[in-house]
Symmetry: C2
Subunit: 719 residues, 2 copies
Amino acid sequence: MKFLFSICLFICLSFSSFAKDGYELWLDYSPVENAEMKAQITPLFSGIFFFGESPTYEVIRKELEIAGQKMLGKSPVYSPDRLGSASLWLGTREQLSQVLSLDQQVKIKDLGEDGFWIGKIEVNGKSYLSIVGNRPVGVLYGAFHWLKSIQTETFDQNTEIADNPKVKLRMLNHWDNLDRTVERGYAGFSIWDWHKLPGYVDPRYTDYARANASIGINAVSLTNVNANALILTTDFMKKAKVLADLFRPYGIKVFLTARFSAPIEIGKLKTADPLDPEVIEFWKRKTDEMYSFIPDFGGFVVKANSEGQPGPHEYKRNHAEGANVLADALAPHGGILIWRAFVYSHEVDEDRHKQANLEFEPIDGKFRDNVIIQVKNGAIDFMPREPFHPLFGAVKNTNLGMEFQITQEYLGQATQWVYLAPMWEEVLKSKTYRPAPTSTVAGIIDGTDSGQKLTLMAGVSNIGTERNWTGHLMAQSNWFAFGRQAWDHMLTSEQIADEWVKLTFGQKPEAIAKIKDIMLESHEAAVNYMMPLGLHHIMGRSHHYGPGPWVEGGRADWTALYYHRADSLGIGFDRTSTGSNALAQYAPELAQTWSDPNQIPEKYLLWFHHVSWNFELKSGKTLWEEIGLHYDQGVKTARKMQETWSSLESEIDPERFHHVSQLLAIQVQEAEWWRNSCLLYFQTFAKQPFPSEIEKPTGDLEYYKSLEFPNAPGIRPRW
Amino acid sequence: MKFLFSICLFICLSFSSFAKDGYELWLDYSPVENAEMKAQITPLFSGIFFFGESPTYEVIRKELEIAGQKMLGKSPVYSPDRLGSASLWLGTREQLSQVLSLDQQVKIKDLGEDGFWIGKIEVNGKSYLSIVGNRPVGVLYGAFHWLKSIQTETFDQNTEIADNPKVKLRMLNHWDNLDRTVERGYAGFSIWDWHKLPGYVDPRYTDYARANASIGINAVSLTNVNANALILTTDFMKKAKVLADLFRPYGIKVFLTARFSAPIEIGKLKTADPLDPEVIEFWKRKTDEMYSFIPDFGGFVVKANSEGQPGPHEYKRNHAEGANVLADALAPHGGILIWRAFVYSHEVDEDRHKQANLEFEPIDGKFRDNVIIQVKNGAIDFMPREPFHPLFGAVKNTNLGMEFQITQEYLGQATQWVYLAPMWEEVLKSKTYRPAPTSTVAGIIDGTDSGQKLTLMAGVSNIGTERNWTGHLMAQSNWFAFGRQAWDHMLTSEQIADEWVKLTFGQKPEAIAKIKDIMLESHEAAVNYMMPLGLHHIMGRSHHYGPGPWVEGGRADWTALYYHRADSLGIGFDRTSTGSNALAQYAPELAQTWSDPNQIPEKYLLWFHHVSWNFELKSGKTLWEEIGLHYDQGVKTARKMQETWSSLESEIDPERFHHVSQLLAIQVQEAEWWRNSCLLYFQTFAKQPFPSEIEKPTGDLEYYKSLEFPNAPGIRPRW
């Protein structure tokens, strides 16, 4: 009877897994059907032993319960002692010190505070598969790795695994407002229900922590960088404490955004001058209070003097003076101050591209040790493709962290399937030629090239209240990929896609291959149908939804015309020495190559050069022709993605199949809209016919220009 | 093997039903364990035959599939023909005309367009359980009734059932904005994802339609009465069409809110004067266009000249002139114009209570036949308890509809368990003494007393993006109860609670009794700890969250002082002839009784009278003592609700148990907060000690007054 029940439960769980709403993310644990794998793991699930106790081990037990039920149809069995019936050991190096060899201990110690080791330990002729870390959280990461390797069918108990993250802080930045709107959010609204906290703790918070821990994310900034000082009031600290307490066993530290003018807004001071003694005292008092609620509070994230946010410039102080007052308040508690490099105002230079370097290079070395400057991957603003930010390599004595945007502000928003890992990989692997000739962006970020100890990779979250977390089911892969790349930037986007697809859709070889195909071509497709060949910032105004190459008027560097500079002669932003000379902010090796329109990679051509419509590209075709071909190729790839997906109807559960199918249909329409709008618009300058190979853009340019989307998601709501 | 699979599936579905997130609402279909019931229904599920086809029958088939799987663990079986293996017949009276007796046909015909009949039809000595309506939607309502009767264990195939709704339009009003914020919404954000429509159709829309149809709701207004004219643009019509198409088989018609100034905002006219020929033409053209997309479009809902909304008064036209222009545009298509009676501006009278009657009585009879005036249950604004609105009975020649508020703006918002049916029942059963001495509010609404043919009961929706739809799980009962009361106002709140609890929690006698106990005392508890004895409008400003008896300044009739009028002598709003004389708007029989503070029901005392603190109530205690006792009783009942719920831990699944437990803890705190704030505040006027029997209010009045909630839900978000 019990056996029958077990079978039923198993069938039940596999059956219920057909109704897929996406809530389970990559922790869906499909039933293990591979007989060999089952034979390997069944005994392991039947003799689990933890060396010692920790709230984190409770978390592991809960995960093993879920995974055991879903993969094998039964609860894990725990061994009462380490020998006897035990077969799987978990614990820290210290806890296992009596059973680990000296070699093993050294090896594990070298893995650092978040690393883990999975291998066999022999005692009395019996071997025990062991998951060991230097801290309980390392054991947690190891356990998640082990569960993942079962799902991806890569687990082999005879293969030792040692892994540790390359970056210390692997962080999500939520741009979530206290009223639950999310700036640039396309997955509903904020999952943080501040109003009902601290009394009501949504079960979703736990699943959020599980998901993050499973991919190694260990820090979360809960609030928008366009900050509200209220978060620093006692009432909100009590609310944040509940989340911090809940996340702690998952190894996740809470950060909050600090509004630079908070001393005025909630401190009742007349100034926020960072050198004012009362302001210094305010930040110290507020920080001490925060640590009284959250003893392991991570620190503050600050956006200052950027897009209207207050900052030290109001008091004629520089960014270092602004950052250090907060850093000093945090330092006694071991807290970290993250200061964003995305700063610009239209007074500073004629090219916004240059501004961060202009402001930060002169104060290199002036920041406290516990400050990290968080730099967007490129100098403009998360465009579909950007060359790496010239700050990477330009400053030598300041901790630099990476900021990627997981939410798809410029890459399809709520409706497009764009796998972002290839774009991030491209940035991380970019050669900076500084400080060493072999340096890369990744090497600066992780300290190997820069020597910095405090390392950070942050991603702007794409998570919201939608049942499937990310709105577009496939956008889950971007959350996943961000975590994986932050852990190990040597992973390729293909490897990460492979893991994610298997964890999300199970072991279906044909489906896996096709879904990966779509993912891996999706980013290039989006670049092509939106902003190919180095074009940038030609999207709709304010909401950034859809094409807007005609956007002009108002603040210059918020228009499209400022960036594409199309005229009767050509198109592109001259950032060489004949133009803004932003190129000079890069290492000379790069600046030299890139300043030649015949040598620069064509994907960056119009980013740095104003080029004649008749300029000949490597294909032998003119620029005008290639622009047409790129836009058209983007649309064709989108259609191909749709066709490939359609062929999977029998492989994918109906709920997810239909969800993605509907969105792909929208994506194809939006790709056509981009192509038609941009080509018709640019043709008014180029005054040339379209290349014969491409599908002619259709529609009426005036109609496209007239479209308005006052309620597009991700912007300030208007009633 | 197949048998085994069936068993497994059954166990699986019952097992998975332990993980309850509330999404299933009252359509959870718990497994039928009662052997007798199972014996009755098993053959019925094994021989289903539909007489004819209809998209609505597809909907019924889907519901039978879900219900069959969940209740019996198997799919329903359809009979290929009406005789043979058939046992359950479904169809319209016309479709079944050959098998129905003449008596049966007459009886069914009398049930009208939405009624249904469930009974046995004998043919060739075999009897067939039959679900028959005059239209397919009647069959749908019958099918839902049948499924409900199985779940509540009231189904008996030998008992004939005939039922039909008392009100023609049973309608939800969504106060949902196009940017997905919801005015006075406490369950997340709007389920209408306008941005992704028409391309992306959220599966949730279908479950929304199922839920509404299952309780007889047949009309939904999708947009906020504080309207945005954009909804009348072609783009939005295309989006609304998708929803209308989806809802149609469920018998649900779509209404939209029309902004009175739309002719200016989207029509590019200089005026919205309802008598202007271009304005008349605008509404005709827009309405015709709407019907080209939605041939059975329900009509418009309009809030005009109220709280800043534009309206006919700007052009010196009255409400009838304003309403009739839209009504005339709708009439050729069979559309209905719903005009809200919630109109007030502070220029009109010293007592807002009187304003609707002052504006609508003089134009009684001036509205077109297809206009309904939608009147809130009371004259102020959905207070925890209000005497019925004096318009009911005052106008004789105008269609009046009821507007209830399901969302708990003034009744606990996001965190309190308050079952609203007793409040609505109290209003519906109130005697108006007009037009006939025996008339009631319900009799006016349903036409029996008023003679009106076009009847309406509308409820302001409490639905949002929260997984469980209503935020507080228990608030589902208010959605359910609204639908049931709109269908049949003779049902008692106890009967409705009984149905809902059984459908939601299954057949657990002890749990059912206790949950019903909590529900039935919850509204009186809330009145007591918020606004007892006729107190009203003493909540926090703007967001209306928590107590605010001290709210003063700004527009007078938006303050608390305006309404409670506490002074050293007493408290209460004198609405007798010595005061505003609002009482004169009621029937003389009522006005006379209520004008005597010794005769008026004490629950309305301070609504109509300014009474001395030492006024003696029926209990023999003074008003001041009774105010204290009522507030204290409210808190005690809230605590008792919490205790009762705690005793159910072993009866309720952990997910729902914990959800409600957390919220009840908040509710007790909020009840104490209300009591302490109000009593401490009123004591500053009464200057008397608290009665010895009550728990003394604690806390610091100045502290309570200082509390601010700028991000409370349900109001315009601020970044």
